[in-house]
């Protein structure tokens, strides 16, 4: 066993932190309060190479491995990039673009991937529905073959990047009677007649990420927009779980470091009863708990990434453990950070409150903690 990162990986991490601190973090608070998507910052992520980090170079990517994408995600969190932007990046690069990378035709890859790598196009994945969240196999959006077209009908919900996406990977049933085996995946472009995005939902956290319904009403798409073969959609969706349990969790690792620094800075400066509050054990204990969470979570995420780099099939048990731990136990440190800041922690003046709000999604999105427990208990 070896937990080291190479010199190149460490250098890369440092570069991402520096880039993010300079180019993105100064705008984070503004876009969170405005509940607006920061297109400029997103394209800067593209220009820096983050959006297409794992794409092959011929599609405009950097050809990086999964561990490197985790390093990038961790670095963004450590720099102080908000949960909204990292969520949008994750949904774009891993849930949408990666599915195209793995299953689209060469023509489609050439059409979409270079623009997804730069951020010129924004992608989303449309899987969940109003009545199909955890029970995704019961989704009811249909795709009916008519000659050389498919007709999509149905509604998707909780779609990250939904209102702003140029391209969507949409999961629909081509054979409803087959349940999950009847799910297929399609590429649908913005502007296709019969495809509309709803208004952005007003959310508690990750507010710079736009989330909405997507409605498909007699939406016709070319038959070649089918990804892979009919009935392969569920497996494709499950493949994105590897990213959900590694690269999409990575920012939480960095955010733990970010919170430590922010809290330490505050604790050294804030004076009460004649001394900095950092001198009080209760404050030291909170800082310790934030640190302990960050250290504990690290190897769980990197393990999933490393196994994927080895080409091994996803270990669903270990992936679920990573998601469950971060989902449930990241809430404590974000709470500690707010409380440590006292009244100021409750205001927008200090961004710990934003981190607290953003973090609330962790046990819900990408597979709830309850579902992870169901998976773990079944597999153990």
């Amino acid at each position: 066993m070896d937990f080291s990162l190479s010199k190149e990986q460490l250098m890369f991490k440092k570069e991402v932190v520096q880039f993010a601190k300079k180019e993105i973090v100064p705008r984070v608070q503004e876009y969170d309060l405005k509940e607006a998507f920061d297109f400029d910052s997103f394209r800067k992520l593209g220009a820096f190479g983050i959006l297409g980090l794992h794409f092959p170079e011929k599609y405009g990517g950097e050809g990086a491995d999964v561990v490197t994408t985790v390093i990038a995600g961790e670095a963004l969190g450590e720099a102080g990039v908000d949960g909204g932007l990292t969520l949008s990046y994750g949904a774009h690069s891993f849930l949408c673009a990666d599915t195209i990378l793995c299953h689209a035709s060469e023509v489609q890859k050439q059409r979409y991937l270079p623009k997804l790598a730069t951020g010129e196009m924004i992608g989303c994945m449309a899987l969940s529905e109003p009545d199909a969240g955890s029970d995704v196999a019961s989704l009811s959006t249909t795709a009916t073959r008519k000659g050389d077209r498919y007709v999509l009908d149905g509604t998707k919900m909780w779609i990250t990047n939904g209102p702003i996406a140029d391209v969507a990977v949409v999961y629909a049933k081509t054979a409803p009677e087959l349940q999950h085996a009847g799910i297929s995946a399609f590429i649908v472009e913005k502007g296709t007649p019969g495809f509309t995005a709803g208004q952005p939902l007003v959310k508690m956290g990750v507010r710079s990420s736009q989330t909405s319904e997507l409605v498909f009403s007699n939406c016709e798409i070319p038959a070649e927009n089918l990804l892979g073969n009919e009935g392969e959609g569920f497996l494709m969706a499950m493949q994105t779980v590897e990213w959900d349990r590694s690269a999409l969790l990575a920012p939480f690792l960095g955010t733990a470091n970010y919170l430590q620094k922010k809290c330490a800075q505050y604790a050294k400066g804030r004076v009460q009863f004649g001394r900095p509050i950092g001198h009080f054990q209760a404050i030291k204990h909170k800082l310790a708990d934030i640190r302990i969470f960050g250290e504990a979570a690290k190897a769980l995420v990197y393990r999933v990434a490393w196994y994927k780099d080895q080409g091994r099939p996803l270990n669903h048990l270990e992936a679920a453990i990573a998601k469950l731990f971060i989902g449930d136990y990241s809430l404590g440190p974000t709470n500690d950070a707010v409380v440590l800041h006292g009244g100021y922690g409750f205001t927008h003046e200090f961004d710990v409150e934003r981190v607290f709000r953003d973090g609330r999604l962790a046990p819900i999105g990408g597979g709830t903690s309850e579902i992870q427990k169901k998976i773990i208990s079944k597999l153990m």
Binding site: I283, K284, L317, K374, I375, S377
Partner: protein
Amino acid sequence: MNFDFSEAEKQFHSALESTIAEVMDRKQQKTGDLAHHQNFFRNCQNVLAGIGYLDLGLRSSANSPGSTLHLMACQERLAAASPAVYLTVEMSSRMFGRILHRWGTQAQKDMLLSALTSGALLGAVAISENAMNVTNDPLTTVGIEKDNHIQLSGIKNYVINGPVANWIAVVGQLQDRPAVFLVDTHASGIVVHETLSTMGYEDVAIAGIALDHCHVPKEMVIVPPEETALIASLQRWENQILIAASLGMMKAAIDEAKAFANAHHSGGKPVVAYQEVAFKLAEMLTFYQTSQLLAYRAAWTSDTDERERDTLTLCTKVFCSESAEKVASQALQILSGTGFKKGNKAECAYRCAKYTQIAGTSTEIARVMIGDEVLGYR
């Protein structure tokens, strides 16, 4: 980065598990007789020595690398099988053995190290004093030079193996420097108090000792070089032992609870079919695997990064020891009435878990030290 054990390590683990099974076949007779107790644990050590378990962390061989990570993976296996054998063996061979290996003279090593790592001797290491907190309070056990020997005086509490050890490594001060005094338990001036009756680890012999002008030959004193952080090293080693103890407890508790949940029926089905039980098992496994990976990383860091190792070890100790209590508690909840009866591994883990939070660097002090590191105060 690599999350796999090597083939050599995996083979050693497999061989160790067979050896541990052999050790477990020897049932400890609880006679209260210290000589019998000593004999039992020396025999256990002897069996473990045969596979080289007692050499881990001291020497490496072709089929057993010397890394702390490999050691941790092996320790947790013994800890899962028997908390008492584990703690006795570790404080004897590992703690005492490491002191000799790291700082002992050749003569001291020749005299004691082989005997310790072959299981011929039982050792103990006496650190804690009345303040119970060597981080905050200076050691009060002091050696005074007299002609060709040292007169050692002081009181040590909670000495694991104290009542049954052949030799005790007493940590104290000599001329205002930390030192280790190797004390033959038959020497004059040492009194071992009555064996303590404890909440957990009840099969381990634990007692306080009093040293009153105890005669220690000069050649049996270890004075590490000035730059060596003796106390920090001892604490790190003890913390590592307790981390592995926590992992072992969690494994044992999970195995016990899982077996019960699959076998015990209620309402016409195994209780594992109920979400409340299944979800508890999932949480337990999550704490265990998170603890295990953290422990492995801390052990690896211990060998590779001097700057990070102490804080990471402290983080690991807090997390693992508190997880052990949570996991054991969940296990008892699943086991229900069965768990409340003495004799199963989950209730043993529940009682022993508290020790791992108190001993070594306590979780409160560990959090203060970690907090100070985050603040840049240390």
